[in-house]
Symmetry: C2
Subunit: 236 residues, 2 copies
């Protein structure tokens, strides 16, 4: 009977009057799942692992969720609640820049988040609140509604892409040095073939690159400018 669409989590009531008091709650399950994902990665978030961590049987989770996908949906929306969406009198561009900065911070706190933001159009309450807030920032901008939606969508898309790039390069403190050495070794071997002169040249350049924070803000600012949000808009 239960719908298999991962979207109706948001409509379904968590529990209805009759029956024994539930030992576990949807919130507890999601919290445990997020903790696992933060620590051991998204692949470690299995039904059995989550159940074990909250002291439940594996099958019990299916009294609160309809699928593993639904759990992911809940995870995404839950961390979406970490945004500070308070109102602001700043110009639209500054507001969106601030949202993007927060988004990057959240994705750094939860490294499993970034890829998920691109694939699924999350429609949970927190995600909708974020969307609403971003659109509110654009209320003074003269732009058709769908274009505003497009702009906001690309904002989070670019942020996600940037952070994924960041995370893929650092990838962690421990075993990654080894991995990177393998990589560099492979690359230098490729270079000795002489088939990649420009690549070799680009890597040879000094690594005096600016901080990732500045780079990120630059990328976002640049996108917003091109999207019709220059530094100063209208009369402010």
């Amino acid at each position: 009977m239960a719908s298999h669409d991962p979207l109706d989590v948001w409509r379904r009531p968590e529990r209805s009057g009759v029956g024994p008091k539930p030992k576990h709650s949807r919130a507890a399950i999601v919290a445990a799942a997020i903790e696992i994902a933060d620590k051991d990665g998204m692949a470690a978030v299995s039904i059995r692992r989550v159940a074990a961590d909250i002291g439940a049987g594996a099958a019990s989770l299916y009294r609160h969720l309809n699928s593993h996908d639904e759990l992911v949906e809940l995870m995404v929306d839950t961390v979406g609640g970490e945004y500070d969406l308070g109102p602001s009198a700043e110009p639209p561009r500054a507001q969106l820049l601030n949202l993007a900065r927060q988004g990057r911070a959240i994705m750094h706190r939860h490294p499993w988040l970034a890829p998920l933001l691109l694939t699924r159009p999350s429609l949970g309450p927190n995600s909708l609140a974020y969307l609403e807030r971003a659109l509110a920032a654009l209320v003074t901008v003269d732009m058709p509604g769908p274009a505003k939606l497009q702009t906001v969508a690309m904002l989070t898309a670019i942020s996600s892409a940037f952070v994924q790039n960041e995370l893929a390069q650092s990838a962690g403190p421990g075993a990654i040095d080894h991995g990177n050495k393998e990589r560099l070794q492979h690359l230098s071997a490729a270079f000795q073939s002489g088939k990649y002169p420009h690549l070799a040249g680009a890597l040879a350049g000094h690594l005096e690159q600016q901080s990732p924070d500045e780079t990120f803000m630059g990328v976002i600012e640049n996108y917003l400018a091109g999207a019709g949000l220059p530094v100063s808009v209208g009369f402010d």
Copy 2:
């Protein structure tokens, strides 16, 4: 003995003189995997399924691959060979724009590709050739090497993000209408709560949006301009 780093596929020779003639080749395996992914999605690309499709036992694939991850790496690099990397006399910005357009086309041909481009820094021959070609386009641009790498990386990252957004919205011809109706129904229900006035307003706007192609080129062009590649560079 075999290294578990999915990167050394590129160093390992496919076969060495002694032993029975292999019935299956790495290329055939990867081709089958790509065909499966194109038709039934990435999730359908299991070792057993690929093996069955080329008439092999499941365990046999591990004579040619060290892991499922390695197969994915090979898939990504193989479709990377679909780029036309011929030289060009156009200005840098036009060349990169052309590469981005090709990239989007490839990601549309292989809908499983876009997410993978963000997570892994593929270092196969085709991926390296692409990188080399993109850097060659930037050879006349005055910019430190690492910054050029950053630019190219963000170029494919933004393209991937854009295409993922596209694919998530269309998602297919058949059962998606139903899914979208569910979505819109959910959304309209959320709107009746009155908590999302701006969102409601944005969706109410006429959907006379420009074609995705134009939108895409606009986004890319805009990024390149901000990255230091205006319409005309230097003396051309």
